[in-house]
């Protein structure tokens, strides 16, 4: 399989603080990748640089064979690179179904050769909502949702963009065990449909059950990359997490 996402020597600074220091990472199409690291290790910054929310100073991001440097976030989304946010950021004045209409209209319909009719958009939104289990809340406002439902909405909205690669940024923080299992199952289902997924997570049980490969970031550097059970036994990773 060819690499879908290639991050080459990516660096990002905030003033004098080096948030990312020469990250090189490659994700194959159809892969499930776990990305872990202690707080402040640069996971979210890496996501922001890949998705175009932040501009990286050095290095390149290649996605689906094309260089992403200089492209804005919405252009990257249109090319098939979707993300969910660490803290849910729903469109608060819109109903749950309308929340999904935004990416359907602005991403799917903006792609060349694709034009969904209004009826098809409604249908697609309903499909996605039943996929994540929010079908009966379609007409509600985001403020009526619980935390776990909000995270599902966040995932559904990212999925509505029909991504090739989905980056789920801590979509399970603060959820209960059953809720975590719920979302992991959902993500694996999505992966089986052919979506490549990068999962950023602190909950090790979720990461271990989800990932086919694990990447560890510590203070902006990649310190390990490989099979999950081997990576977590890596002494450097243990040192970063538990201390010496």
């Amino acid at each position: 399989m060819t690499a879908l996402l290639e991050v080459d020597n990516l660096s990002k600074r905030f003033g004098g603080f080096v948030a990312l220091d020469g990250i090189t990472l490659s994700v194959k199409a159809g892969e499930r990748l776990g990305l872990i690291g202690p707080n402040g290790s640069g996971k979210s910054t890496l996501v922001n640089c890949i998705c175009g929310t932040l501009a990286n100073e050095m290095g390149t991001v290649r996605f689906d064979g094309a260089t992403m440097n200089g492209l804005t976030a919405h252009e990257r989304t249109r090319r098939g690179l979707a993300r969910s946010f660490q803290l849910p950021r729903p469109f608060t004045s819109m109903s749950i179904a309308e929340n999904l209409r935004v990416p359907l209209l602005y991403t799917v319909n903006a792609r060349p050769g694709s034009h969904l009719s209004p009826a098809a958009i409604d249908e697609r939104a309903a499909e996605l909502l039943s996929l994540v289990g929010l079908a009966d809340k379609a007409k509600h406002l985001p403020r009526d949702l619980t935390q776990v439902e909000m995270r599902k909405l966040e995932l559904a909205r990212a999925l509505a963009a029909e991504p090739k690669l989905l980056i789920a940024d801590e979509s399970m923080a603060g959820l209960s065990n059953t809720e975590v299992a719920d979302i992991v199952a959902l993500l694996i289902r999505l992966n089986e449909r052919g979506i490549t997924i990068i999962l950023i997570e602190h909950i090790m049980r979720a990461v271990m059950s989800f990932s086919q490969r694990l990447v560890v970031l510590v203070t902006g550097k990649k310190i390990a990359d490989g099979a999950p059970d081997i990576v977590i036994r890596n002494p450097e990773v243990e040192r970063a997490y538990i201390g010496q």
Partner: protein, 429 residues
């Protein structure tokens, strides 16, 4: 309803309004109506950027004045004789309106490009700065009158309408219909959904594929163009234009206050706000002194911000949050107190200011209702109703005394009586 149907209905209503105004046959009605219509355009234009997209523009007056000064410039420059064969004649006002729209639209685009990287208060300050820069520029440009101002002599009559002010009124009516149609079209289109996404969360909008910068530029351009359109006929209306009247703070404040009062999420909001506030301002200026006018308008804005934070539309849609806030003892007392004050002033004006008085009585009744419902004493509402009824009946001063007494009782009961649930809760250990 399709946009075309809506446009036709609006046009029909507009024609009806014009015909009704002709029946009254009082030129002052057209003078006052022009201002109200102008505010409908300005408020709707502001709302496209401020309400739909969430970017507060304090520089509305600048776009309005640009339209007005474009007209002054062309009025001075034309007729222009380039050679003996080519003479450019003075332009009719509809053409001037289009020119005003193009100029203000371009400035809106430019301003957007320069300032839209700023958010929240910073964007608002930048737009205010734009207004100051433009005003300074116009003040120092002697061709359009500079600080002295410029006279634009308008004809008294125009065929086939008659008095020129009626022609201006008709033009502004057409602009209002146009503005409302544009706003409603945007609201229901893909563009409107994108604007709303930007307002709710710009980062999430961008991640959902919304080209935020492009959409924001579209919003500033449309908003600016509509404001320029509103300004273009203004010199003909007022006859003498000076920078301080074209860039008056009134325009900036009103075009924000009106959508806020009406409700910012729909095209109906600015319409309600502009008709309500614009009409009240006109009535108050004529019937009472213009300084009391300011007091009354200010109080109504305070009322609206507290009672209907999401605008009158939000209140109608039945969000209960506002009612809970109003029922809070401190807020209740404050609002009750300040809304009694204008009634005193209005009373002195007796009959002329009756419509204004009714609004304040309505506010008092609403307050009594909200507080009364919370504390389970709905009879409170009867006190302001009795007072209002008494004040309408002309008669001995005793009635005034009784109504004051009733209001004081209402306020005291509202403050002293506690909710029943709270009483039982504090009783249990």
């Amino acid at each position: 309803m399709r946009t075309l149907t809506f446009f036709l209905i609006c046009t029909a209503i507009g024609i009806g309004v014009f015909a009704a105004a002709r029946l009254v046959d009082n030129d002052y009605l057209f003078f006052a109506g022009y201002v109200v219509l102008q505010y409908i355009v300005l408020a709707t234009a502001w709302n496209i950027l401020g309400g739909y997209t969430g970017y507060v523009n304090f520089g509305s007056a600048a776009f309005f004045a640009l339209g007005a000064y474009a007209t002054v410039f062309l009025h001075k420059a034309l007729p222009l004789e380039i050679s003996s064969l080519i003479v450019i004649d003075p332009l009719p006002i509809p053409v001037l309106i289009v020119i005003g729209a193009v100029i203000s639209g371009f400035v809106g685009l430019g301003m957007g490009y320069l300032t839209l990287r700023l958010r929240g208060a910073f964007f608002a300050i930048a737009t205010l700065a734009l207004a100051v820069v433009l005003q300074t520029f116009i003040t120092n440009w002697s061709f359009v009158g500079g600080a002295r101002g410029a006279y634009v002599i308008r004809p008294n009559e125009i065929e086939p309408i008659g008095p020129y002010v009626q022609y201006l009124f008709l033009l502004m009516l057409a602009l209002a219909v146009t503005a409302l149609t544009v706003a409603r079209f945007i609201e229901r289109s893909r563009l409107g959904l994108g604007f709303a996404a930007i307002r709710d969360d710009e980062l999430a909008a961008e991640a959902s594929g919304v080209p935020t910068l492009k959409l924001k530029l579209i919003a500033t351009t449309i908003s600016g163009a509509l404001m320029g359109m509103a300004g273009a006929p203004f010199p003909y209306y007022i006859g003498y234009l000076q920078p301080s009247s074209a860039f008056a703070l009134d325009y900036a404040v009103n075009s924000i206050a009106m959508p806020m009062i009406g409700g910012t999420t729909s095209w109906v909001g600015p319409l309600i706000g502009a008709v309500l506030l614009g009409t009240l301002q006109q009535i108050a200026t004529v019937t009472i002194s213009s300084s009391v006018n300011l007091l009354i308008v200010g109080l109504l804005i305070v009322d609206c911000v507290i009672i209907a934070p999401t605008g009158i539309l939000g209140l109608i849609e039945g969000r209960r949050t506002a009612r809970d806030v109003v029922a809070d003892p401190a807020v209740f007392a404050l609002l009750f107190g300040i809304n009694v004050i204008p009634i005193y002033f209005l009373h002195q004006e007796a009959l002329t200011a009756r419509p204004l008085e009714i609004i304040f009585w309505a506010v008092l009744i609403f307050l009594a209702l909200a507080r009364g419902r919370l504390i389970g004493q709905l009879w409170l509402i009867t006190l302001p109703i009795v007072s209002a009824a008494l004040s309408v009946v002309p008669g001995p001063p005793l009635q005034g005394l009784i109504s004051i007494l009733a209001l004081v009782i209402c306020l005291a009961c509202g403050l002293l009586l506690r909710p029943r649930e709270a009483a039982t809760r504090s009783g249990t250990p």
